[in-house]
């Protein structure tokens, strides 16, 4: 009996590596610490009522961002472990298997559990405010999306202490990822964790599409929307049409692994190439899901701090539309070398290069927005300005990779790795940091410290270049991705040393940013006006942080940059008419999303270990929650005029 328990524990928990034991201990200590603090300060009820059951888009946005920052820390530690291992030839900091797991979790976490939720967080905060709405179209679904993402991320992260991590790369290619070559639970964690959070992403796409199409303030036609809202509208369309393909791909591989089907196996007629096609049919649009929103953020920030309206508004919109269409017909460029015919490669080569045209148009529009502007070098503006040249380098090397014959040289080398980090860090990461600093006062009512913000920017941006510029040359010198060590004497060592220094520099920049967040929480400058940056769009017209109902009166819009226009009118002495308040209709908080997502976690965990006694009750719990929700009729309340008056008076806005 005791022996069988011992052998179960030895298999269930990951053992043998001191670093894992360290992680076990720190997870246990952190969990105990959180529980102790919540209990000591009697905050459980507060946590449940104010956060876990909240359907307020602003709070959901903040929860998304907190979770994404934690995941960024984990993904960053993965990156530093890889860089440590590769600093010098023949190091044994990580063994081959552990290294495979680390690059797999690094990639998956950074894309699925950092980039997407961070962007979802920022759009939750900004989009309803920018269009003058009181919430998203489906607040309940919005909460459910967040909790599905959250439990998906938790399930995926559990893998490194319980059962073992996936090790087939974030793209999880068959047949290696299938059950014949890759038995054990690691790959199941990948499939189910990503699947659960993907369902949440699809729901977010639908939610924001309807919100933006149907809930804009009176007078705000599509072509008067702020550019960030436009970027989210287009991104939502991509999410709706790309994610179901990934849902299917993940489900098929799960069925392969759990029920012995033959979609991607080599035996019994399966087609490993089918996985590559299905994965990248989602995977390439996914690149634009995490890029278009930051294009929107940069458009807002550059216009705000150049104190000009955005140059070429309509062209900006149409170029994003063009990118979104092209993004669906380029997926094959991820595997030019896998035996396609020349005409097929030629088609995808050209479609890929075409994307450079609308993207280039956008770059020039940002430059022309800066032209003759009164540029103010705030922290968000620095991130935006650094994005332009750094991202362009990533774009240009992308065009190099798009040439199919040349790609036979670059494929799977560090040249490729440098390319996609140039786009994803200089694009997405700079963008989410930019948005974080820009909208921080709107989220919390105080500013992040500018001096510390600028220091963290310079350290991170310079280190990024120290890390990734040499990497292009390392790729051209022949080092391929995903090798866990390399022999001396190939001339790779100096570059690897420099890259590791750069990687730790980026880590230092991130730590400084985290310190800035903590410091500013205690000493940050209050934002009493609601408009600390002299902003141009409607989110700056309300208080910081915005009241539960966002706007006491729904704003009326007549032109682009609606708030800038209003401020000019006010200056000219046209203050507008004073209107009386009316009670505001708002959705109730509900515990169903978090409970339903917890059942989803149980079902997912059961499937990972093929414990159907656990998975089936989990699924039944999910369905029971859906039914329970269907019978809830009393799901709204009214905010009284007295309460609105009290809230508005507290921020000095009583009209």
């Amino acid at each position: 009996m005791i022996d069988s328990i011992k052998s179960f524990m030895g298999w269930f928990f990951v053992t043998g590596d001191p670093m894992i034991y360290g992680a076990d201990a720190s997870i246990a200590l952190a969990s105990i610490g959180i529980v102790a603090v919540l209990t000591y300060f009697k905050k459980w009820k507060w946590l449940w009522q104010e956060w876990l059951t909240s359907v307020d888009h602003k709070k959901i946005g903040i929860m998304y961002i907190i979770a994404a920052l934690l995941m960024l820390f984990r993904g960053g530690v993965d990156a530093l472990m890889m860089r440590t291992q590769l600093t010098l030839p023949n190091l044994h900091f990580l063994d081959a298997e552990h290294y495979n797991q680390v690059f797999t979790t690094h990639g998956t976490i950074m894309i699925i559990f950092v980039a997407m939720p961070f962007i979802f967080g920022l759009m939750n905060i900004a989009v309803p405010l920018q269009i003058g709405a009181r919430d998203v179209a489906f607040p309940f679904l919005n909460a459910l999306s967040f909790w599905l993402f959250f439990v998906g991320a938790m399930l995926f992260n559990l893998s490194f202490v319980i059962g073992g991590s996936p090790d087939a790369g974030w793209s999880s290619y068959a047949p290696y990822a299938d059950v014949e070559m890759n038995p054990g639970v690691g790959q199941n964690y990948y499939l189910l964790g990503v699947q659960i959070s993907g369902i949440g992403s699809l729901a977010t796409g639908i939610n924001f599409l309807v919100t933006i199409l149907k809930m804009r303030a009176p007078g705000m036609t599509l072509f008067k929307m702020p550019m960030f809202t436009w970027s989210i509208l287009i991104t939502s369309v991509i999410v709706v049409f790309a994610f179901p393909a990934f849902t299917v791909a993940l489900a098929l591989m799960t069925i392969d692994r759990l029920f012995g089907a033959h979609f991607f196996t080599i035996a019994a007629g399966g087609s490993p190439m089918l996985w590559a096609n299905l994965f990248w049919f989602w995977g390439h649009p996914e690149v634009y899901i995490v890029l278009l929103p930051v294009f929107g953020i940069f458009s807002e920030v550059i216009a705000t701090f150049a104190h000009k309206t955005l140059f070429g508004y309509a062209v900006m919109v149409w170029s994003m539309v063009a990118i979104s269409l092209l993004s669906f017909i380029t997926w094959l460029h991820h595997f030019f070398t896998m035996g396609n015919t020349a005409p097929v490669n030629a088609f995808f080569s050209i479609s890929t290069m075409l994307i450079a045209i609308p993207t280039g148009v956008k770059i020039f529009n940002w430059l022309f927005t800066l032209n003759k502007g009164r540029i103010q070098f705030t922290t968000p503006m620095l991130w935006a300005l650094a994005f332009i040249p750094n991202f362009t380098i990533g774009g240009v090397t992308g065009v190099m990779l798009a040439m199919a014959p040349a790609d036979y040289q670059y494929h799977n080398s560090y040249f490729l790795v440098a390319h996609f980090h140039s786009t994803l860090i200089a694009g997405t990461v700079f963008g989410i940091f930019c948005g974080l600093h820009y909208w921080w006062p709107k989220m919390f009512g105080y500013m992040l410290d500018e001096t510390k913000g600028k220091w963290s920017f310079w350290i991170f941006m310079i280190s990024f270049n120290v890390c990734f510029m040499p990497m292009y040359f390392l790729g051209l010198m022949g080092m391929t991705r995903r090798m866990y060590t390399y022999p001396a004497g190939l001339g790779w060592t100096p570059i690897n040393v420099v890259m590791t220094i750069g990687a730790f520099g980026m880590g230092a920049g991130f730590v400084l940013m985290a310190y800035n967040i903590i410091w500013s929480a205690m000493h940050g400058k209050k934002d009493a006006t609601g408009d600390p940056w002299n902003g141009r769009t409607l989110e700056w017209s309300t208080a910081s942080p915005a009241a539960e109902y966002n706007f006491a009166h729904i704003p009326e819009v007549s032109e682009r940059d609606a708030f800038a226009v209003t401020k000019e009118k006010r200056k000219a002495g046209n203050a507008g008419t004073v209107k009386s308040y009316a009670p505001i209709h708002m959705p109730n908080n509900t515990g169903i999303p978090v409970i339903m997502a917890s059942f989803m976690f149980v079902a997912g965990f059961g499937c990972v270990f093929e414990w159907y006694w656990m998975a089936i009750p989990g699924v039944i719990g999910v369905i029971a929650c859906m039914i329970a929700r269907s019978f809830v009729y009393n799901d709204h309340h009214y905010i009284s005029v007295e309460e609105i008056k009290r809230t508005e008076a507290a921020t000095g806005r009583l009209s």
Binding site: L209, P244, L252, F263, F631
Partner: protein
Amino acid sequence: MTESTLSLHEKDRSKMPLEYTTEEGDLRIVGFWIFLAAELVLFGTLFGTYLVLQSHTAGGPTAKDLFEIGPVMAETIVLLVSSFTCGLSTIELRRHNKKGLIGWLIVTILLGLVFVGLEVNEFYTYAVHEGAPISRSAFLSGFFVLLGTHGCHVSLGIIWIIGILLQLGKRGITPVTARKAFMAGLYWHFLDVVWIFIFTAVYLTGLVI
């Protein structure tokens, strides 16, 4: 919730069918259409997968060996008739006839149950009697998952409509219950359209080629 430029003025809204008379109903119906668009991509991916793998029988039974037109026609007729009765239920909804609406929805889910029963029987026959389970070949994997996904959708639809029937019985036809019944109808017709593609791309193609 907020009024927007695109949504109707209250006066015009009151002239709309009941399910569109509140802004919330309007939003949810639009959202549901977008959800169906996503479902279209989901099934499209499954169809693509099936068609790629159709010839990958790995020496096992082929489509021609397995498929028989009789049970397939029975499933098809039952599901198409259920779509018709579902349409009748929407007509009764527009007439605000609670009894008619409930009656036709019950007929619809009964036909749905018959369909699911026939499909389960077909699966059972293939997997147990004909030696063609999901693990036999890539073709059968594609077949079972494509049809199984459709069958699961029908089954979930049945559970959903039962929930709506209970609410209709308790509350009668209100803007909220009307919206739910209308959306379930959209869902049901969508599954019927998917079946027409399955009938053509899976069964007819399989029997001929």
